[in-house]
Amino acid sequence: MIKGKKLNIIKGALFITIIWYFIHLLISSNIIPDPFTVFLNFFEILIPVLLPHLAMSLYRILTAVVLALIIGVSLGLLIGRNERVDQYISPIIYLLYPIPKIAFLPIIMLLLGLGNRSKIVLIIIIVVFQIIVTTRDSVKNVDPEYFYSAQSIGISSLQTYQHIIIPAILPQILTALRITVGTSIAVLFYAENFATQYGIGYYIMNSWIMVNYVDMFSGILAVSFLGLLIFKSIDIIEIRFCLWINVKNTKGVNNQ
């Protein structure tokens, strides 16, 4: 199964490369450089140039996502488990969720400085809502019979979180995490255009300004690999901790 997935990624990459090549031929302008020049350049500058930028971006994304998860899951659990709290907090969330928070970057930078902190906070306030809402809804959807079942064998309410709620909602949290990572990369790309010399977003925009399209595309390639790396890590977490989901999928057996 794992082997097949690896092959799929290669197939996907091949497909994109072919399309890219055709567009390159079609446009025949250096705006879209040919993929092979980009690949060569990519491997050449990967370690000396791209890696520091990638490392900085990865650091920002991971910090933001981990913090957003901690905040979002705790809040989501609190709201999902308490009808009263839900009544007061959910309307606030609905009001804040659609606001284009990216517009607040200047304000955040004024308040938190120009450094990493403001970029990380921007990502957090954008993605945390997805995590809160997903957590809240998945908690509410846990079959009440599981709670009765747990109570009947003497599980305390604190232990319920460990044995019932967290495992039950983990698959949905991981899905939210995947969406969140995609959003984070996009937001970061924007945020890294301000007041920084490091970050893959900065690198791409800078190459663009310097009219170096081969470098720019190498940077885009790097973002793609960064995303792949993070998504694959989430897959590994899922395989490790949500084995039961895979059992269900591969056997096609409906549970209970």
Binding site: E145, Y148, S152, I153, G154, K251, N254
Partner: protein, 244 residues
Amino acid sequence: MIKVENLFFSYQCKDVVKNINFTIREGESLAIIGPSGCGKTTLVYLLANLLTPNQGQIKINNSIIDNIRKKTGVILQNYGLFPWKTVYDNVSLGLEVRHFNKKKIKEKVLEVLNRLNIEEYKDNYPAELSGGQRQRVAVARSLILKPDLLLMDEPFSALDAITREEMQNLILHIHKDNNLSFIIVTHNIDEAVFLGQNIAIMKEGTFIDQLDNPYFGDFKLREKEEFFKLCKNLRTMMSGDDLL
């Protein structure tokens, strides 16, 4: 001894359990039979104290039950197994949260899995098991806590006839070996007669009739004349209901 007096319960404003009264002596069994929606599951939840009655009381061994009782085992209608835990972890959970040490847990879990003939599935998830195997896991999960009272909510209704009889025999064995009192809720007349020392007919939230079953406890009962008579009797008493 279990003594239930004057039990009432309603969801919002809908009365679901109305004026239930019964007594079972230690080591006896009660089968509750009734049509779908008559409040059987709700009654089981009340007896297990997963729900709190609006009125009335449940006494077990002379103390009023107002908390989840450690020695009451429950098998819920859909077995209540956790799909994210393996058979082993499902069965061990009750001991784990009681802080038994790991070695002791392993010993006890393997013993009960072995007794129920499902040891080879210990590392499987519930989704990988057949209905009968899942049912055994649910029984194992209750038995490991050494209950003196077992509540079962239509435990065998999803099983084929042969597996169902096997499971009924198993329950009877466990009952005899451990002097276990049990209450079984069912749709099925044969099951009520085979497993009920007392049989209660439930309709619209209340017991409309109760009868004694003098033949209870005989493994060969299904082949005997008395069994058919009693089934017929029960069917007549319930007539008017669209039961099997």
